[in-house]
Protein backbone atom coordinates (compact mmCIF):
# COMPACT_ATOMS: atom_id res chain seq x y z
CA UNK A 1 0.00 0.00 0.00
CA UNK A 2 1.50 3.31 -1.02
CA UNK A 3 2.09 5.55 1.94
CA UNK A 4 2.61 9.28 2.15
CA UNK A 5 6.13 10.53 2.67
CA UNK A 6 7.31 11.61 6.09
CA UNK A 7 5.85 14.88 7.15
CA UNK A 8 4.44 14.50 10.59
CA UNK A 9 6.34 14.34 13.79
CA UNK A 10 5.22 11.69 16.19
CA UNK A 11 7.38 12.86 19.04
CA UNK A 12 6.23 14.58 22.18
CA UNK A 13 6.17 17.92 20.41
CA UNK A 14 4.15 16.65 17.46
CA UNK A 15 0.38 16.52 17.06
CA UNK A 16 -0.98 13.20 18.26
CA UNK A 17 -4.15 12.03 16.63
CA UNK A 18 -5.30 9.00 18.59
CA UNK A 19 -5.66 8.29 22.26
CA UNK A 20 -2.89 6.15 23.78
CA UNK A 21 -5.27 3.54 25.15
CA UNK A 22 -6.34 2.61 21.61
CA UNK A 23 -2.85 1.37 20.88
CA UNK A 24 -2.87 -0.90 23.93
CA UNK A 25 -6.22 -2.40 22.94
CA UNK A 26 -5.11 -2.86 19.33
CA UNK A 27 -1.91 -4.53 20.41
CA UNK A 28 -3.80 -6.96 22.66
CA UNK A 29 -6.15 -7.93 19.84
CA UNK A 30 -3.34 -8.33 17.33
CA UNK A 31 -1.48 -10.73 19.58
CA UNK A 32 -4.64 -12.73 20.26
CA UNK A 33 -5.59 -12.82 16.57
CA UNK A 34 -2.19 -13.94 15.31
CA UNK A 35 -1.91 -16.54 17.99
CA UNK A 36 -5.39 -17.94 17.42
CA UNK A 37 -4.95 -18.45 13.68
CA UNK A 38 -2.01 -20.77 13.88
CA UNK A 39 -3.25 -24.38 13.57
CA UNK A 40 -0.04 -25.78 14.95
CA UNK A 41 -0.11 -25.31 18.69
CA UNK A 42 3.29 -26.95 19.26
CA UNK A 43 6.63 -25.16 19.55
CA UNK A 44 6.95 -24.85 15.74
CA UNK A 45 3.68 -22.99 15.39
CA UNK A 46 4.42 -20.83 18.37
CA UNK A 47 7.78 -19.86 16.90
CA UNK A 48 6.06 -18.94 13.65
CA UNK A 49 3.55 -16.73 15.44
CA UNK A 50 6.29 -15.11 17.47
CA UNK A 51 8.35 -14.39 14.37
CA UNK A 52 5.33 -12.90 12.60
CA UNK A 53 4.74 -10.66 15.61
CA UNK A 54 8.37 -9.69 15.68
CA UNK A 55 8.28 -8.91 11.97
CA UNK A 56 5.32 -6.62 12.47
CA UNK A 57 7.12 -4.84 15.25
CA UNK A 58 10.18 -4.49 13.04
CA UNK A 59 8.10 -2.86 10.30
CA UNK A 60 6.46 -0.51 12.80
CA UNK A 61 9.83 0.50 14.14
CA UNK A 62 11.06 1.18 10.60
CA UNK A 63 8.00 3.27 9.79
CA UNK A 64 8.35 5.27 13.01
CA UNK A 65 11.94 6.04 12.15
CA UNK A 66 11.05 7.10 8.61
CA UNK A 67 8.20 9.31 9.68
CA UNK A 68 9.92 11.23 12.41
CA UNK A 69 12.16 13.78 10.71
CA UNK A 70 13.39 14.95 14.11
CA UNK A 71 15.33 11.71 14.41
CA UNK A 72 17.26 12.25 11.18
CA UNK A 73 19.79 14.97 10.44
CA UNK A 74 18.31 17.98 8.54
CA UNK A 75 18.25 17.65 4.74
CA UNK A 76 20.65 20.57 4.36
CA UNK A 77 23.22 18.82 6.52
CA UNK A 78 26.02 16.85 4.80
CA UNK A 79 24.92 13.90 6.90
CA UNK A 80 21.37 13.75 5.46
CA UNK A 81 20.34 10.43 3.82
CA UNK A 82 21.38 10.33 0.17
CA UNK A 83 20.56 7.94 -2.65
CA UNK A 84 23.38 5.44 -3.00
CA UNK A 85 24.77 4.35 -6.38
CA UNK A 86 23.82 0.72 -5.74
CA UNK A 87 20.19 1.51 -4.87
CA UNK A 88 17.52 -0.02 -7.09
CA UNK A 89 15.44 2.57 -8.97
CA UNK A 90 12.29 3.72 -7.21
CA UNK A 91 10.15 2.04 -9.89
CA UNK A 92 11.54 -1.38 -8.91
CA UNK A 93 10.27 -1.00 -5.36
CA UNK A 94 6.82 -2.49 -4.76
CA UNK A 95 4.27 0.33 -4.76
CA UNK A 96 2.64 -1.02 -1.63
CA UNK A 97 5.70 -0.23 0.50
CA UNK A 98 7.31 3.13 1.10
CA UNK A 99 10.87 3.50 -0.14
CA UNK A 100 13.07 3.53 2.96
CA UNK A 101 15.81 6.13 3.22
CA UNK A 102 19.19 4.52 2.92
CA UNK A 103 21.21 5.28 6.00
CA UNK A 104 24.70 4.20 6.85
CA UNK A 105 26.89 4.68 9.88
CA UNK A 106 28.44 7.72 8.23
CA UNK A 107 25.15 9.49 7.53
CA UNK A 108 23.41 8.70 10.81
CA UNK A 109 23.09 11.54 13.26
CA UNK A 110 24.03 9.06 15.98
CA UNK A 111 27.48 7.68 15.45
CA UNK A 112 28.23 6.08 18.77
CA UNK A 113 26.57 2.89 19.93
CA UNK A 114 25.72 4.56 23.20
CA UNK A 115 23.96 7.40 21.33
CA UNK A 116 21.84 4.85 19.50
CA UNK A 117 20.89 3.18 22.76
CA UNK A 118 20.08 6.50 24.35
CA UNK A 119 17.89 7.30 21.35
CA UNK A 120 16.02 4.00 21.91
CA UNK A 121 15.54 4.69 25.61
CA UNK A 122 14.50 8.30 25.30
CA UNK A 123 13.10 9.25 21.91
CA UNK A 124 11.62 5.98 20.68
CA UNK A 125 10.11 4.99 24.00
CA UNK A 126 8.71 8.51 24.47
CA UNK A 127 7.13 8.47 21.03
CA UNK A 128 5.49 5.09 21.53
CA UNK A 129 4.75 4.92 25.26
CA UNK A 130 4.89 8.58 26.33
CA UNK A 131 7.55 7.75 28.91
CA UNK A 132 11.26 7.10 28.91
CA UNK A 133 12.91 3.84 29.76
CA UNK A 134 13.96 3.60 33.38
CA UNK A 135 17.53 2.44 33.13
CA UNK A 136 20.24 1.54 30.67
CA UNK A 137 23.18 -0.57 31.75
CA UNK A 138 26.17 -1.83 29.83
CA UNK A 139 29.16 -4.00 30.37
CA UNK A 140 31.15 -1.81 27.93
CA UNK A 141 31.73 -4.88 25.78
CA UNK A 142 28.76 -4.56 23.44
CA UNK A 143 26.01 -5.84 25.74
CA UNK A 144 23.31 -3.46 26.89
CA UNK A 145 20.43 -4.03 29.26
CA UNK A 146 17.41 -1.75 28.85
CA UNK A 147 15.07 -1.80 31.80
CA UNK A 148 11.53 -0.52 32.01
CA UNK A 149 9.94 -0.93 35.42
CA UNK A 150 6.41 -0.29 34.27
CA UNK A 151 6.12 -1.44 30.65
CA UNK A 152 2.65 -0.25 29.62
CA UNK A 153 1.77 -3.30 27.55
CA UNK A 154 2.52 -5.76 30.35
CA UNK A 155 1.61 -3.78 33.44
CA UNK A 156 -1.98 -5.00 33.41
CA UNK A 157 -0.83 -8.63 33.42
CA UNK A 158 1.82 -8.15 36.04
CA UNK A 159 -0.28 -8.14 39.19
CA UNK A 160 -0.54 -11.94 39.47
CA UNK A 161 0.71 -15.19 37.96
CA UNK A 162 -2.42 -15.68 35.84
CA UNK A 163 -0.88 -14.39 32.61
CA UNK A 164 2.62 -15.73 33.01
CA UNK A 165 2.36 -17.78 29.83
CA UNK A 166 0.91 -14.94 27.78
CA UNK A 167 3.53 -12.37 28.67
CA UNK A 168 6.24 -13.52 26.21
CA UNK A 169 3.78 -13.23 23.29
CA UNK A 170 2.97 -9.64 24.16
CA UNK A 171 6.57 -8.62 24.60
CA UNK A 172 7.91 -10.42 21.49
CA UNK A 173 6.61 -7.68 19.25
CA UNK A 174 9.14 -5.30 20.75
Amino acid sequence: MRARSAGRSLGAGGRRMADAVLFEFLHTEMVAELWAHDPDSGPGGQNMSLSVLEGMGFRVGQALGERNPAWLPPSSSPWAPQAWPGDPPASAWPKCLPLPPRLSRETLAYREELDILKFLCKDLWMAVFQKQMDSLRTNHQGTYVLQDNSFPLLIRMASGLQYLEEAPKVSSRW
Binding site: M1, R2, A3, R4, R8, R16, M17, A18, D19, V21, L22, F25, L26, T28, E29, M30, A32, E33, A63, R67, K95, C96
Partner: protein, 135 residues
Protein backbone atom coordinates in the same frame (compact mmCIF):
# COMPACT_ATOMS: atom_id res chain seq x y z
CA UNK B 1 -10.55 -7.71 16.06
CA UNK B 2 -12.54 -4.50 16.14
CA UNK B 3 -15.34 -6.26 17.96
CA UNK B 4 -12.93 -7.44 20.66
CA UNK B 5 -11.49 -3.97 21.03
CA UNK B 6 -14.97 -2.40 21.18
CA UNK B 7 -16.17 -4.67 23.97
CA UNK B 8 -13.29 -3.46 26.14
CA UNK B 9 -13.17 0.10 24.94
CA UNK B 10 -16.74 0.87 25.99
CA UNK B 11 -15.85 0.40 29.65
CA UNK B 12 -12.96 2.80 29.34
CA UNK B 13 -15.26 5.25 27.54
CA UNK B 14 -18.00 5.09 30.18
CA UNK B 15 -15.46 5.52 32.95
CA UNK B 16 -13.87 8.57 31.37
CA UNK B 17 -16.82 10.33 29.79
CA UNK B 18 -19.50 9.99 32.51
CA UNK B 19 -22.34 10.25 30.00
CA UNK B 20 -25.81 9.61 31.33
CA UNK B 21 -28.39 7.18 30.04
CA UNK B 22 -29.48 7.78 26.46
CA UNK B 23 -33.14 7.83 25.54
CA UNK B 24 -33.07 7.46 21.79
CA UNK B 25 -30.98 5.99 18.99
CA UNK B 26 -30.19 9.46 17.67
CA UNK B 27 -28.85 10.48 21.07
CA UNK B 28 -26.64 7.39 21.11
CA UNK B 29 -25.28 8.17 17.66
CA UNK B 30 -24.63 11.76 18.65
CA UNK B 31 -22.68 10.62 21.71
CA UNK B 32 -20.62 8.22 19.59
CA UNK B 33 -19.81 10.97 17.10
CA UNK B 34 -19.28 13.94 19.38
CA UNK B 35 -17.85 12.37 22.52
CA UNK B 36 -16.32 8.99 21.71
CA UNK B 37 -14.71 9.80 18.38
CA UNK B 38 -13.47 13.10 19.78
CA UNK B 39 -12.00 11.42 22.85
CA UNK B 40 -10.20 8.62 21.06
CA UNK B 41 -9.42 9.84 17.57
CA UNK B 42 -9.65 13.61 17.91
CA UNK B 43 -12.23 13.96 15.14
CA UNK B 44 -15.95 14.73 15.18
CA UNK B 45 -17.90 13.07 12.40
CA UNK B 46 -21.22 14.56 11.42
CA UNK B 47 -24.40 12.54 11.97
CA UNK B 48 -27.28 12.11 9.55
CA UNK B 49 -30.42 10.05 9.93
CA UNK B 50 -31.20 7.85 6.96
CA UNK B 51 -34.74 6.72 7.50
CA UNK B 52 -37.95 7.87 9.05
CA UNK B 53 -38.12 5.10 11.62
CA UNK B 54 -35.02 6.67 13.20
CA UNK B 55 -32.95 3.52 13.52
CA UNK B 56 -30.50 4.01 10.63
CA UNK B 57 -27.82 6.64 10.94
CA UNK B 58 -24.66 7.65 9.14
CA UNK B 59 -21.43 9.07 10.45
CA UNK B 60 -19.65 11.17 7.85
CA UNK B 61 -15.91 11.40 8.48
CA UNK B 62 -14.13 14.35 6.88
CA UNK B 63 -10.81 13.25 8.24
CA UNK B 64 -9.80 9.71 9.17
CA UNK B 65 -6.64 9.42 11.26
CA UNK B 66 -6.34 5.72 10.43
CA UNK B 67 -5.64 6.46 6.77
CA UNK B 68 -3.30 9.37 7.36
CA UNK B 69 -0.34 7.58 5.79
CA UNK B 70 -2.22 5.70 3.10
CA UNK B 71 -2.62 6.98 -0.44
CA UNK B 72 -4.17 4.01 -2.15
CA UNK B 73 -5.08 0.41 -1.55
CA UNK B 74 -2.61 -2.17 -2.88
CA UNK B 75 -3.25 -3.79 -6.24
CA UNK B 76 -5.52 -6.81 -5.99
CA UNK B 77 -7.04 -5.57 -2.75
CA UNK B 78 -9.47 -3.03 -4.11
CA UNK B 79 -12.34 -4.46 -2.09
CA UNK B 80 -10.46 -4.16 1.18
CA UNK B 81 -12.31 -2.25 3.88
CA UNK B 82 -9.19 -0.72 5.34
CA UNK B 83 -10.89 0.73 8.40
CA UNK B 84 -13.31 -2.07 9.11
CA UNK B 85 -11.80 -2.11 12.57
CA UNK B 86 -13.85 1.00 13.34
CA UNK B 87 -17.09 -0.78 12.43
CA UNK B 88 -16.20 -3.67 14.72
CA UNK B 89 -15.34 -1.33 17.56
CA UNK B 90 -18.70 0.45 17.31
CA UNK B 91 -20.59 -2.82 17.05
CA UNK B 92 -18.75 -4.37 20.01
CA UNK B 93 -19.22 -1.32 22.18
CA UNK B 94 -22.96 -1.14 21.43
CA UNK B 95 -23.39 -4.83 22.13
CA UNK B 96 -21.85 -4.46 25.58
CA UNK B 97 -24.52 -1.92 26.42
CA UNK B 98 -27.18 -4.34 25.13
CA UNK B 99 -27.82 -2.68 21.79
CA UNK B 100 -27.60 -4.86 18.69
CA UNK B 101 -26.51 -2.97 15.59
CA UNK B 102 -25.18 -3.52 12.10
CA UNK B 103 -22.26 -1.26 11.33
CA UNK B 104 -20.77 -1.10 7.85
CA UNK B 105 -18.92 1.25 5.57
CA UNK B 106 -21.29 2.88 3.10
CA UNK B 107 -18.67 5.03 1.41
CA UNK B 108 -14.89 4.95 1.58
CA UNK B 109 -12.47 7.61 0.36
CA UNK B 110 -9.86 4.94 -0.30
CA UNK B 111 -12.20 3.37 -2.83
CA UNK B 112 -12.79 6.60 -4.67
CA UNK B 113 -15.87 7.97 -2.93
CA UNK B 114 -15.99 11.61 -1.96
CA UNK B 115 -16.35 11.02 1.78
CA UNK B 116 -16.00 8.22 4.27
CA UNK B 117 -19.39 7.19 5.63
CA UNK B 118 -20.13 4.62 8.33
CA UNK B 119 -23.72 3.38 8.53
CA UNK B 120 -25.17 2.25 11.86
CA UNK B 121 -28.46 0.32 11.79
CA UNK B 122 -29.90 -0.36 15.20
CA UNK B 123 -31.65 -3.70 15.27
CA UNK B 124 -34.82 -3.94 17.31
CA UNK B 125 -34.54 -6.20 20.31
CA UNK B 126 -37.05 -9.10 20.34
CA UNK B 127 -38.16 -8.21 23.89
CA UNK B 128 -39.19 -4.77 22.70
CA UNK B 129 -41.42 -6.26 20.02
CA UNK B 130 -43.13 -8.54 22.55
CA UNK B 131 -43.75 -5.61 24.82
CA UNK B 132 -45.37 -3.63 22.03
CA UNK B 133 -47.64 -6.50 21.08
CA UNK B 134 -48.89 -6.75 24.64
CA UNK B 135 -49.75 -3.07 24.52
Amino acid sequence: MGYGIGTRLVEDFLARSCVGRCHSYSEITDIIAQVAFKMYLGITPSVTCNNSSRNEFSLILDKNPLVEFVEELPAGRSSLCYCNLLCGIIRGALEMVHLAADVTFLQDRLKGDSVTEIGITFLKKPEEKKYRRKK
